[in-house]
């Protein structure tokens, strides 16, 4: 269980100059309703209150949105409300042009990683009551913004694809004899965490190195490779091939163990640990030839 999600943030209301950006007309209407409270409320007292959202807005085509701004929304709080619920409410009730990706609402599709109060989080997995107000919601940093909270994920997908993310076994036995490959429960346990990745991109966005070096494979892709490299069902040769991909210049060595990825991963995957293990594997492999 990710403790970082449950802990209330103790962050001051940001003084970002951009933040005083124009209120959207819709939000103003709301404010006219007499619900202006800029100060953070205690979670227990939220019931029946409104939540103050500050949402990043940008649209390359629409005048007035070309220059990024923050819009304020005040949405009525309900018990159990998540960040995703709150932006959906804002969209459906106040401004239908508010754009973000979302689908499953249960932390499996990985569509809705946002930058919430200064941290990469899944909107659907973050309780509003755990956050300081106003809740600042932005698109993932280090990815280009397509519109509002939607970022361009292509680079992330490219990196995922670079590590040859598919099972490779040359001598797969014929399928029709209905015999599965054997795998020990221990080995399955070893790759368990790594197999949970939902491609949300939070880790990549949080990693400073990935931000600086566009070619760095990044924690998610390395973790994906880990899943295969550590799976005993794939032979030694393929494992070596995988390590060769990982130990290229922009591979595992780029990781400077900043741990941000591990901290933000909504699936609690020990990313840094996996990357470090692969570094050791790669060194071990190379030492053999010395």
């Amino acid at each position: 269980m990710s403790t970082q999600q449950a802990e209330p943030e103790t962050q001051e209301a940001p003084e970002d100059p951009e933040m005083k950006g124009a209120e959207s007309p819709a939000a103003e209407e709301q404010k006219g309703g007499g619900m202006v409270d800029d100060h953070a409320e205690k979670k227990a007292e939220l019931e029946g209150e409104t939540v103050h959202l500050k949402v990043f807005r940008y649209d390359p085509e629409v005048e007035g949105k070309q220059e990024p701004r923050f819009d304020d929304f005040h949405v009525p709080f309900e018990k159990g409300m998540t960040v995703l619920d709150s932006v959906m409410y804002a969209r459906d009730e106040y401004d239908s042009s508010l754009t973000f990706r979302h689908s499953c609402r249960q932390a499996v599709c990985g569509s809705d990683a946002f930058f919430v109060n200064g941290k990469q989080r899944l909107g659907c997995k973050t309780q509003i009551s755990d956050l300081e107000q106003p809740v600042r919601i932005e698109p993932l940093p280090h990815q280009e913004v397509v519109k509002d909270l939607v970022v361009d994920m292509d680079h992330f997908y490219d990196q995922m694809h670079t590590v040859e993310p598919y099972f490779q076994d040359e001598d797969t036995p014929p399928v029709d004899d209905l015999d599965e490959q054997r795998q020990s429960p221990e080995n399955r346990e070893k790759i368990k965490m790594s197999s949970r990745c939902i491609w949300c991109g939070a880790c990549m966005s949080s990693c400073n190195i990935a931000a600086g070096d566009n070619e760095y494979l990044g924690p998610a892709a390395i973790n994906k490779a880990y899943k295969f490299a550590m799976d005993d069902r794939e032979g030694e040769e393929i494992k070596e091939h995988r390590l060769r991909i990982l130990e290229q210049e922009h591979g595992v060595w780029r990781c400077q163990t900043q741990f941000s990825c591990t901290e933000v991963c909504p699936k609690d995957i020990p990313l840094t640990e996996h990357i470090q293990e692969l570094k050791r594997e790669a060194v071990k492999k190379n030492l053999k030839f010395w």
Partner: protein, 121 residues
């Protein structure tokens, strides 16, 4: 992205040596600090004192090795840091060359100094 496969420059060796030198440095650097700031105080340093220590071949060799590892560790660290920030192509080659020359010079100069201290030059 396929062209990446051809440009293998495994960074493993550098990474590994950085750790090995670090492990070595912990010991020597602690020793160095302790000896020259706590046992002998820095302000009391004289050429005679230095010379006396350097006469000991073990100490001398340790110091030279210290110099070499520290230089490698430091320069390699700087190089990696720059590469991590996205240094590419010719620039990268130039930086590497400059760093190599600087460290060679540093080690040469340092060894020369150590030898004079030992009174061998």
């Amino acid at each position: 992205m396929a062209e990446r496969y051809s440009s293998f420059t495994p960074g493993g060796t550098g990474w590994f040596l950085q750790r090995v030198t670090a492990a070595f440095l912990v010991v020597v650097l602690a020793f160095h600090f302790f000896l020259l700031h706590f046992v002998n105080h820095a302000y009391e340093i004289t050429f005679l004192g230095t010379q006396a220590r350097m006469e000991n071949i073990g100490y001398f060799l340790t110091m030279v090795l210290f110099l070499i590892t520290a230089t490698f560790h430091g320069v390699n660290g700087v190089y990696n840091a720059l590469v991590n920030q996205g240094l590419e192509g010719t620039q990268k080659k130039v930086v590497l060359a400059v760093l190599v020359i600087a460290s060679l010079a540093l080690v040469a100069q340092g060894t020369y100094v150590a030898l004079t201290m030992r009174g061998m030059i």
